[in-house]
Point group: C2
């Protein structure tokens, strides 16, 4: 029998308890042993959790120091607090399972070092119920990974889908997503791209062995996407998605999170609503894609329990981040400014003669080649210039935007969306 | 160092040799050890294979009895011959990796018994490069699997996609697929649904622990699909796909392979061309879907090599078919006749008064309720009746078809496609 202690009995933790009970038949048949929750820990003992039917305390040491417990499941959230908790669990010889992407975005390499001989699993930390860690670490292990492109935040994908299909404005759909419980009261973590960035960093470690923190990479959200952009996308056969992108370019890896214009027949463009999907291109296998629910108590707990079953079956069976030893010719992180992309810009200008000439000249000065220009009246006094470019460097486009922003006939900071 | 012997150096076998050499850097970093091909076995020693750079013989015992070899990779194809080969390999204590779906469709339970303590892996046998065995056996292990629906034959999906998008006729596109190397000279194994059935049986064992052979299940192909059917599908918002379907219904599991009408906004309906995809619904995780290349030397070898890496990492780490012991309340195979579905029928009739009345009466007599009827002139003398039904039993629909077929004004056996 495998005994589990769960720290955090919120959305995910309580679902783990329920799944281990409701699906005990199939779980013990697959694991070969019974898996039972011995106890749980929460912050607030006053909430009623009798329905969970387990012993509950508010002291993490009740689990960490319990010699009978084999597997500690960390579902409390946060960064530094759970870091201390899981370190102690590992030190006490307990296998650990977590769904905590923030913890891993900051501390995965320290944890991999400590967990050399003991299992530390985290399938649920990226894209909830989709077994993407499993696929990348085991299923595609024969490949050099060429790229990863993921829709890993259901809130953003829900909002962008609604904006595209129903023509709803950003602010309206954000309020609706909040009412439905898809978005938090402070939605920054989701719509600002940070949640996606945490997940991307985890995947990049498995694919490329690359150590980076959120602060090191390009992160933008979807806050500036307007109906004009959606309309432009539609007209030119694109859809707009918030993507986490990792891409190998010789010995460098670029990591970035941003709203992206994608050709509408790409598989990843077909993912709608709250669903998540991750496209992975391997040098031998070509493109593979993984689709499913990226959040929600049961879907996330499905991945947590799969990790517990795996530990019950085999203890530690593979290196936590996929690499047993670093590759020779290690890959390094490409500077954000050196990333190349095609771009779309929306520039709101006062409707004066000579505006287009001034602006196209600035493109030339920044060595950015224009692919197409559309001019759309936005109201009587102003117009939107919608401009798509050929490939250019990120630092050049940023310089361009700063120059354009300063022009007296430009009414607001230009909106830029990268074309993937 | 892990030493590998490969039996069969055709499309897949030679790609395995190449990947292990070309990607040796990333493979040894992930596996923690070097993996090298020691030798290979083929049928015909006269073919030039010097480019592979390995020792080659035409005697399987040169690998099976080689004490230095740790992992035997079976890529020769067939059923009984490879069965003897892998049994001997296991008896000699060697881990086995295969891509052979036919072998597994017939002998997987015998092999699982023999391979109790030794690794026997077969990721490539279903959907080539897509890590679906991995996902189903490990990633979704916490779930009762409600259903599996897979596009697992690239030839059929290529043909159906072309028929749908370009309006090409079945015979024309079959010839084209043969010219492109997507279809064999004798295409029956692919277009008749047998290849899909082999793969479905493997997945059903992992999902449900169910032992069945191809002979036990409903298998139909795409040979009867015509442009009329494609046109009907389009008109009513469906696409036609060859699906392998496994579905749990209380304590029974239905297994079937057939052309299917699927609503065009389902994820699985969006899979075009030679690509494969498998949708799996778990009771906790909901729908997940796995997409990628189902065939081809490199894509298939990607999965074979991933299995070798897994063995190098951990030896035997999980039960071959996912269950360590059978579930209590074992699931049994539902009789094909008891499967319920909605149906679409195309009935070619001589254009006479009273025909529709006679036919609808036969529907009533077989307790099959009609949802919609369309009548389409096919030439001056005859018409096609396109009829969709509400849910009905397979045995009733089969009786109905026999009755209708005998009517003097019915010109050919009615074509039936199940609506999923
Ligand atoms: N929800 C999802 O869909 C989802 C998806 C993927 C990953 N995750 C990750 O899973 C983790 C848990 O998420 P959740 O949605 O389940 O969070 P949640 O509903 O807020 O639950 C957090 C739980 O942890 C407990 N807790 C917080 N601080 C604690 C402390 N210092 N000591 C002991 N217990 C403490 C809370 O106790 P009280 O109940 O007493 O407040 C609560 O039971 C997070 O890392 C999250 O990023 C969640
Ligand atoms: N091709 C794919 O895309 C694909 C995808 C998934 C799974 N698979 C499976 O992978 C396996 C191999 O397929 P493949 O396409 O690589 O086949 P293949 O190209 O026909 O190669 C078969 C190889 O096995 C050798 N061989 C045949 N009988 C033998 C015997 N009795 N003793 C020794 N060697 C023997 C052949 O030798 P010679 O070269 O001397 O003829 C040849 O090298 C099959 O089980 C197939 O179902 C293939």
């Amino acid at each position: 029998m495998i005994k589990v202690g769960i720290i955090g009995l919120g959305t995910v933790g309580s679902s783990v308890v329920n799944i281990l009970r409701e699906n005990a038949d199939v779980i013990s048949a697959r694991a070969g042993v019974e898996i039972v929750v011995k106890s749980g820990v929460v912050k607030n003992l006053n909430k009623d959790r009798t329905h969970l039917g387990i012993k509950i305390s508010d002291n993490v040491d009740d689990i960490l120091d319990d010699e009978e417990i084999d597997v500690v499941v960390e579902l409390m959230g946060g960064v530094e607090e759970p870091f201390e908790v899981v370190k102690k669990a590992l030190k006490n010889g307990k296998a650990v399972v977590t769904a905590n992407k923030a913890l891993l975005a900051y501390h995965r390499y320290e944890l991999a070092d400590i967990a050399k001989d003991i299992a530390f699993e985290y399938e649920a930390s990226v894209a909830g119920g989709i077994p993407i860690i499993n696929a990348l670490r085991d299923g595609l292990s024969a490949n050099h990974i060429e790229s990863i492109m993921g829709i890993m935040n259901g809130t953003c994908n829900y909002m962008l889908t609604k904006m595209t299909n129903d023509g709803v404005a950003y602010d309206t759909i954000l309020k609706e997503a909040q009412a439905l419980g898809y978005a938090e009261a402070d939605p920054t973590f989701d719509v600002g791209g940070f949640d996606t960035a945490h997940k991307l960093l985890i995947l990049a470690s498995i694919a490329y062995g690359i150590d980076a923190k959120p602060e090191d990479i390009l992160i933008e959200g979807i806050e500036n996407i307007s109906r004009d952009d959606i309309a432009f996308a539609k007209e030119f056969g694109y859809v707009i998605k918030l993507l986490g992108i990792a891409k190998k370019d010789k010995n460098e890896v670029e990591l970035r999170v941003h709203a992206s214009l994608i050709k509408k027949d790409a598989m990843i463009a077909k993912i709608d609503g709250v669903m998540n999907a991750i496209s992975v291109v391997g040098d031998k296998v070509g493109e593979t894609l993984y689709y499913g629910a990226g959040a929600g108590g049961n879907a996330t707990a499905s991945a947590v329990v799969a990790n517990i079953i795996d530990i019950a079956r085999s203890g530690k069976s593979k290196p936590m981040l996929g690499f047993d030893k670093p590759m020779e010719g290690k890959l390094t992180l490409k500077a954000a400014g050196d990333i190349e992309s095609k771009y779309y810009l929306r520039i709101n200008v006062s409707d004066k003669i000579g505006v287009l000439a001034r602006i196209t000249k600035i493109f030339e000065e920044n060595s950015i080649s224009i692919e197409a220009v559309l001019q759309r009246q936005s109201c009587t006094q102003s117009a939107n210039l919608l401009i798509s470019t050929h490939k250019a460097y990120e630092h050049d486009i940023q310089n361009l935007i700063s120059s354009i922003e300063k022009l007296e006939f430009v009414n607001s900071k230009p909106v830029m969306i990268r074309i993937v």
